[in-house]
C-alpha cells in the first residue's frame, strides 16, 4: 500500500476531493499547514512598517491507497492541483507497512 501526502493550494481542495471520490477513494485526511518554498510569502504593511509573512498557507492532503491505484491517484492530484504557477505544491509518496480500520479491526487492503 502507498501513503500519499500532497501539499496543495487551499482552494484546490474541493476539486481534488471530488476527483478522488469519483475514482473510488473514499477516505482522506486534510490539515492546514504553512508552506515555505520557492513561492515566497507576502509582505503586510501596518502603519507604514513592513512585516514579512514568510510562509504561504497550504493544505496537506493525506490518502492511503492500494498499490495498484497509487499512480492513478498521484496523477489525478497532480492534474487537479496544477495551475502551472509557482507554489502549486508537491506530492510525497511513502510505503505503508500496515493499516487498520479501527471500527472493524480489518487490516491491509480491506481497511482502506
Amino acid at each position: 500500500m502507498k501513503f500519499i501526502s500532497a501539499i496543495i493550494k487551499p482552494h484546490k481542495l474541493d476539486d481534488i476531493r471530488n476527483a478522488l471520490q469519483d475514482e473510488g477513494v473514499h477516505g482522506m485526511t486534510v490539515s492546514e499547514v504553512k508552506g515555505f518554498g520557492r513561492q515566497g510569502g507576502h509582505k503586510e504593511i501596518y502603519r507604514g512598517a513592513e512585516y514579512a509573512v514568510n510562509y504561504v498557507p497550504k493544505t496537506k492532503i493525506e490518502v492511503a491507497v492500494a498499490d495498484d491505484i497509487a499512480d492513478r491517484v498521484i496523477e489525478l492530484i497532480r492534474d487537479k492541483a496544477n495551475s502551472g504557477q509557482i507554489g502549486d505544491g508537491k506530492i510525497f509518496v511513502f510505503e505503508l507497512s500496515e493499516v487498520v480500520r479501527i471500527r472493524t479491526g480489518e487490516t491491509g487492503g480491506e481497511a482502506l
Binding site: I45, G48, A52
Partner: protein, 433 residues
C-alpha cells in the same frame, strides 16, 4: 466649587463665547440640572468604556497572540489601581484648592462629599467619576509602549507613581486652577493633560525598556485586526463622552465638541487610508483606524473651541502628521514604542494644542479667543503649555523608571518574551480552541 470650575470661569467662560452659550454656570448655588447630570453620567460610562474594553482591545489586537491577555490585563489592572488611587488622594491633588503647582489633601477619600454636594450643575460625585475616567485612560495609553516584554509588577508600580507624580500635577496646572490655567492655556479635553503626558512618558518608557527581539525588521503582524477595529470603534464613540462631556453640561458646546470630534476622526481616517492606498496600493483596516485615533487625539484639546471647518482641517492635518510621525519614530529614532503611542497620541495631542490658538478664532469658525488676547499671545501660551508638560512628563518618568529598574527590574527574560506574557506572567492562554 471645584478649582476646575474656577479655571473654567477664568480661562474659558471669560472668552468671547460667553454669550454664545446659556450660562452652563459653575456657581455653587445654581440648581442641579438633571439633563446635565444625565449627560455627564452617560459620558462617564462612555469614557470608562473607552479603556475597558476599548483601549484594551485596540492594543490587544495589535500584539502577537501569545501576549494579548497581558495587554488586556495591563489595561484592566491599571484602571482598578487608578480608581482606588483617585479616591485615596489623586483627585484631591489634582482638583483640591492647593496652590499654582499642586492641589491639596482636603478631598482625600472624598471627605465631605455626599450625594447632595454639587459641582456646577451636577453632583460632585459625578464630576469626580467623570474626571476619574480620564485618570484611568491616561496611564492606560502608555501600555502601548511596553507590550510583549514588560514585567507586570513594573507596570503596576509605574502606573501608580506616574499618576501621583505626572498626572496629578499636570492636571492641576491645566484644569485644577494651576499656573497654566491662570495663563489661559486652551486644553478643552486633554491634549496636554492626557495625550502629551502619556505620549511623552510612553516613548521614554520604550527607550529605557529596550526593543522587542526582532524589532524592527522581523516583527509579526498584528494578530487580530478585527479586535483592534472593535477597540477603535469603542474609543471613537467613547470620545463623544470624552470631549462632549468636558463641557460638563448637555448644551450647544457639548454638541459642537462632538461634531468636530467626529469630523476630525472621519477625515483623518480617510487621509491615512488614502496615503496607504497611494503609497502601498492597499488601504488597510489597521491603518484606517490608526488614522481615526490620530484625528481624535489631535482634536481633543480644541474640541470645545473650534467649528466644523476646524474639525475637517484638524483631521486632515492629523492624518498626515501622525502617519509620518510613526515612520519617524520607528525608522529614524529606532525606538520600539511598539504601538506608536508617542507618534499617535503624543504628536496628536501636542499638534492639536498648538493649532488651537489659530482655529479657536472666530474668523476660522471658532468660538473666539479671550478678550484682548491675540493669536500670537495665545500661541505662546500653548507653546509654554506643551514644553512644560513634555519636559515634566519626561523627567518624572525617567526618575520613576530608574527607581523601578533598580528595585524590581523592568523586563522579563528572553524566553518569557518568546513564549508569551500570557502564560508566563498570568498563567493563561488566549486561544484554547
Amino acid at each position: 466649587m471645584t478649582r476646575r470650575g474656577i479655571h473654567f470661569c477664568m480661562g474659558v467662560l471669560a472668552l468671547a463665547f460667553l454669550n454664545a452659550f446659556p450660562a452652563a454656570a459653575f456657581a455653587a448655588d445654581s440648581a442641579l440640572d438633571t439633563g446635565d447630570t444625565a449627560w455627564i453620567i452617560t459620558a462617564t460610562a462612555l469614557v470608562l468604556f473607552m479603556t475597558m474594553p476599548g483601549l484594551a482591545l485596540f492594543y490587544g489586537g495589535l500584539v502577537r497572540s501569545q501576549h494579548v491577555l497581558s495587554v488586556l490585563m495591563h489595561c484592566m489592572a491599571i484602571a482598578c489601581l487608578a480608581s482606588v488611587l483617585w479616591i485615596v488622594g489623586v483627585y484631591s491633588l489634582a482638583f483640591g484648592e492647593g496652590n499654582a503647582w499642586i492641589g491639596d489633601l482636603s478631598k482625600i477619600f472624598l471627605s465631605g462629599v455626599t450625594g447632595s454636594t454639587q459641582s456646577g450643575t451636577i453632583p460632585e460625585g459625578v464630576f469626580f467619576m467623570f474626571q476619574m475616567t480620564f485618570a484611568i485612560i491616561t496611564p492606560g495609553l502608555i501600555v502601548g509602549a511596553f507590550v510583549e516584554r514588560v514585567k507586570f509588577s513594573a507596570v503596576m508600580w509605574f502606573s501608580g507613581l506616574w499618576l501621583v507624580l505626572v498626572y496629578a500635577p499636570v492636571c492641576h496646572w491645566v484644569w485644577g486652577g494651576g499656573w497654566l490655567a491662570d495663563m489661559g492655556v486652551l486644553d478643552f479635553a486633554g491634549g496636554l493633560v492626557v495625550h502629551a503626558t502619556a505620549g511623552t512618558s510612553a516613548i521614554v518608557f520604550a527607550k529605557m525598556l529596550g526593543e522587542r527581539k526582532g524589532f524592527p525588521t522581523e516583527l509579526r503582524p498584528p494578530h487580530s485586526p478585527s479586535m483592534t477595529m472593535i477597540g477603535a470603534c469603542m474609543l471613537w464613540v467613547g470620545w463623544f463622552g470624552f470631549n462632549g462631556g468636558s463641557a460638563l453640561a448637555a448644551n450647544g458646546q457639548a454638541g459642537m465638541a462632538i461634531l468636530v470630534t467626529h469630523l476630525s476622526a472621519a477625515t483623518a481616517s480617510l487621509v491615512w487610508m488614502s496615503i496607504e492606498w497611494i503609497k502601498y496600493g492597499k488601504p488597510s483596516l489597521v491603518g484606517l483606524v490608526t488614522g481615526a485615533i490620530g484625528g481624535l487625539a489631535t482634536i481633543t484639546p480644541a474640541s470645545g473651541f473650534v467649528g466644523p471647518i476646524g474639525g475637517l482641517v484638524y483631521g486632515a492635518v492629523a492624518g498626515v502628521v501622525c502617519f509620518y510621525a510613526v515612520q519617524l519614530v520607528r525608522h529614524k529614532l529606532k525606538i520600539d514604542d511598539s504601538l506608536d503611542v508617542f507618534a499617535v497620541h503624543g504628536v496628536g495631542g501636542i499638534l492639536g494644542t498648538l493649532l488651537a490658538a489659530f482655529f479657536a478664532v472666530e474668523s476660522l469658525g471658532g468660538v473666539g479667543l479671550a478678550q484682548d488676547v491675540t493669536v500670537g499671545a495665545q500661541f505662546s501660551v500653548q507653546v509654554i503649555g506643551v514644553i512644560s508638560t513634555v519636559v515634566w512628563s519626561a523627567v518624572a518618568s525617567i526618575i520613576i523608571l530608574l527607581a523601578i529598574k533598580k528595585v524590581i527590574g523592568l523586563r522579563v527574560d528572553a524566553e518569557a518574551e518568546q513564549t508569551g506574557l500570557d502564560i508566563t506572567s498570568h498563567g493563561e492562554s488566549a486561544y484554547e480552541y
